[in-house]
Assembly symmetry: C2
Homo-oligomer: 138 residues x 2
């Protein structure tokens, strides 16, 4: 089970709650319950997508690159699931069969539209709003 989206969202919510103050991968890892290196790996993806930035050296850590109210779950999805292969198409169908010859291309189109519908739904929720929902449960 791929949980990068979930962990990435967790990271961003933490950073939002500590807005401004850098948070180390070690502290984040304790909340997520995993290892700092995994957190740093995902932070690399988030940073590449322009969602976070990091400060090197003692007292350093990660922080949001822009307000949590401007980051949606769709941004998170796009940052970590770069390939967009939620639903994969099987490789190598028989080209001598009229179905096998063209099903990949056709299915890719349908899957692409479906995943886009998922992304649009994800874009309805910001990190700030999600953080509010989460903290309201405590």
């Amino acid at each position: 089970m791929n949980t990068r989206f979930s962990v990435a969202t967790h990271i961003l919510v933490i950073l939002h709650c500590q807005d401004g103050k850098p948070v180390s991968s070690d502290v984040i890892a304790q909340s997520v319950n995993t290892h700092p290196a995994l957190i740093r790996r995902i932070l690399t993806q988030l940073s590449r997508a322009g969602l976070t930035q990091s400060q090197l050296g003692a007292g350093g850590g990660a922080l949001l690159a822009r307000p949590g109210s401007t980051i949606t779950l769709r941004d998170v999805y796009d940052a970590v699931d770069e390939d967009g292969d939620l639903l994969g198409v099987h490789p190598g169908p028989n080209p001598d069969c009229p179905v096998g010859r063209n099903i990949q291309q056709t299915l890719r189109g349908e899957i692409s539209e479906a995943v886009n519908a998922l992304r649009i739904q994800l874009s309805q929720k910001t990190i700030a709003a999600l953080a509010g929902d989460i903290l309201a449960l405590s």
Copy 2:
């Protein structure tokens, strides 16, 4: 990469094109370019979902349990991705952290809504229509 949805769709398109005539897992496997046992495994899921039925014995095989015009890609998705864990939630976040304590529940809700948007999009396409699209490319 999980390709069960893709293979299941392939199977149903084949059955639609041979409507009425049972097709053996061997013949289907040749078009998909995989092994009959995998086809039979997926056919078991499709059969449980009421989309196909099989005839035992010589000359047997699988056929659609209802017209391809009444089966949508959402039916296929629901049949094969029974767990609905397209986007998994990471296990075991720290319950002593306000975020870790409640993020799973909140994220599951968001993911569920997003996957539902994907399912609604998939429900717009029937096997019959997809078969038409595919054969139009030949």
